[in-house]
Symmetry: C2
């Protein structure tokens, strides 16, 4: 059987399973999630042993230390995977609610029922925990899922998928609800992306190159999670002590994630007072500073920032710093260089706070708080499958409810259109 | 200037305009809509004269009578365009609402603010009224719009766009908010579809070939309005008099639209009683019947239906008829051949009605009513830009609110992440 046929066969099975999944009760789905958690803990040794094969192969292929770290499972990470599934089970079921229902003059009663999307394909890179997280969130929302992890994690992913399949069977959920594409050939992804008759949504999770490939080749709708080039703008009406706490937190607390600050913008009127001690404090925490000419005037030994620095997602202890004329210049900078992820203003001025909130076109816009809060769990939405930086369907942290859609249900008693 | 540069320049202008549009008050937008309506009526002669050029050229090119009818404007159609803009002005503004806001344990207050999407491209075929309808709906929702009509309507579309541009200027709305691509070369569409940095959404309106081309070539998210293969299922527990009224209405009242019935499914237990008089009545209204073998057994002179008939969107006085074993067979038929648009069951049985509602995966599912009601205006949603048959972002009749997105707004007082 060739690759095209093999992938198509799995997509067909997923679509069949999706019809059954859509009618499952919450309690059956939650039981399956708990069985999945128990299975992952119970078969820890099988999963870890498969993972060792991947880690060894990665070492032989000379993958980077960071890559190998993301790939490696241990007891702690296994426990976290199980815990995450239990938390998903404890969340409310997003399926089945009717937010509003109304009656038309002719007596028709119309409502919008929340229903699963159908079949979702997740295309991701190294981290094997995405396998159980994604399967869990898709199942919670009543969707069948087709998983296509990176070739470097294939043994781990197949072992986890095997455990999940057994858990589904024990719970009376069709085993075909979770499909793992075991063909590591890149052609399998290309074939998958054309199956718009069977797959309703593709979510790529990984670097820019992966996402770009998916967007350019998919005839299925895609939800993107691009980079986070997040800004903090310190206004001249800011409480500077608060500004300095927020800047430190947004840059240093966990620099490798998409909601960490990459560029600091400072109003020219407070730059001389704020920047020298701020930069000293950041440097004390190991942060390298790349500054605009006005920053360099105040702190002469900063590295000059180039145009590329304003676009950069460092994911590291590096910060671009720019002195701006005013709020308008800050908003313009964010519109030009930002990635519409998370941006913050620090100010005591009410009307500037409101202008920033309304005029900055990002998934999450903050007043007087760190950008680091952009996260499904922190926002109170439950586990997230990613943070969408696009505007269609889901924007910002994307949880189980964003893996559903609606349909109109119409109750009549014989109405016809005149 | 080559085509790529010309299209890019318009997309850039649209994106600039979108930033201003996003902050306009409802009253400014509504004033612009009323000015557009007044302009279209006031400059009726210019528009009709431009339209005559298109109609003449269409005649010379030998376009079909139906095409020429769709292309032709007259006083009545001009008045309807203006009226539609006035109705859009009278609708509530979808932008600016915060559906819910909540406080987190650390005191952060988080809300989802409804905001415009940004820049929307509409790619459509002959009807020139789409130009004003689409411009009006996009403006209502605070979006800039790039319009790309068919080459056969180019003079009409340019004349309407000119009137709209003047109306925007009179109202203090950036003229660049409504862009008409005047290059009729097909390459202009191909270039447009790659501008994902400037354009947030593409909506193709037209035949399947157009939609397929857009889906296959776009790196921008697309909302599709595919065909409507709508079904009415007459259960053996139906009120047969009601069923017959609904069947007649769904097929005959306006056969050329996407929510008209194309296939009738009848439970085997009532087929002998229901079908012969039903088919006679349909034929009396000029409907051609294509039946399955069991239908042919009951009404021997029907044309035998082929496999293609079950997939067909006739948009005409033709009906496919199939006798099915039971509700499950009806649901299976719809899942196999339907287009997930609008489907109806006629039954007095409560549990079958509920199963049909839940198990048929279509944008609109009806109990005891005609499929002809699927329409934004009839549903009470206001003017619609189309009926989405996809599941992401918007499903079913798509009005101004579906041309918006949300962003998270977060009010803090110095919170940092621990």
């Amino acid at each position: 059987m060739d690759i095209k046929q093999a992938v198509l066969a799995q997509a067909r099975q997923a679509k069949q399973a999706a019809r059954k999944l859509a009618t499952l009760s919450s309690s059956v789905k939650d039981k399956a999630l708990l069985e999945m958690a128990a299975g992952i803990e119970g078969q820890r040794e099988e999963i870890l042993s498969a993972n060792r094969k991947d880690v060894e192969a990665a070492g032989q292929k000379g993958l980077s230390k960071a890559m190998i770290d993301r790939l490696t499972l241990n007891s702690g990470r296994i426990a976290a995977m199980a815990q995450s599934l239990r938390e998903i089970a404890a969340q409310p079921d997003p399926v089945g609610s009717v937010d509003r229902m109304w009656r038309r003059p002719n007596g028709l009663e119309i409502g919008r029922l929340r229903v699963p999307i159908g079949v979702i394909a997740i295309i991701y890179e190294a981290r094997p925990n995405v396998t159980s997280d994604a399967a869990g969130l898709c199942l919670k929302a009543g969707n069948a899922v087709i998983l296509r992890g990176g070739s470097e994690a294939i043994h781990s992913n197949l072992a986890i998928a095997e455990v999940i399949g057994q858990a589904l069977e024990r719970s009376g959920v069709p085993k075909e609800s979770v499909q793992m594409i075991s063909i590591t050939d890149r052609q399998a992804v290309m074939e998958l992306l054309t199956l718009d008759e069977w797959i309703d949504l593709v979510i790529p999770r990984g670097g820019e190159a992966l996402i770009r490939t998916v967007v350019e080749n998919s005839t299925i709708p895609v939800i993107k999670h691009y980079k986070g080039v997040c800004h903090v703008y310190v206004d001249d009406q800011a409480d500077l002590a608060m500004a300095s706490r927020i800047v430190m937190n947004a840059k240093v607390q966990r620099p490798g994630v998409c909601n960490a600050m990459e560029t600091l913008l400072v109003h020219q009127n407070v730059a001389a007072q704020f920047l020298p001690p701020m930069i000293a404090e950041l440097r004390g925490a190991g942060v390298e500073i790349r500054g605009c000419p006005r920053t360099k005037l105040l702190v002469p030994d900063v590295i000059p920032a180039t145009e590329d620095d304003w676009y950069a997602e460092y994911l590291d202890l590096i910060l671009a710093v720019r002195v701006v004329d005013d709020l308008d210049a800050a908003i313009d900078h964010i519109a030009t260089y930002g990635s519409m992820h998370s941006d913050a203003i620090v100010t005591k001025d009410y009307s500037r706070a409101m202008r920033f909130l309304h005029e900055v076109d990002s998934a999450a816009v903050y007043v007087n708080a760190s950008t680091r809060f952009t996260d499904g769990g922190v926002f109170g939405l439950g586990a997230e499958i990613g943070i969408s930086t696009q505007k269609l369907h889901a924007r910002g942290p994307m949880g189980a409810e964003d893996l559903t859609t609606t349909k109109y249900i119409i109750f009549g008693n014989g109405q016809i259109r005149e």
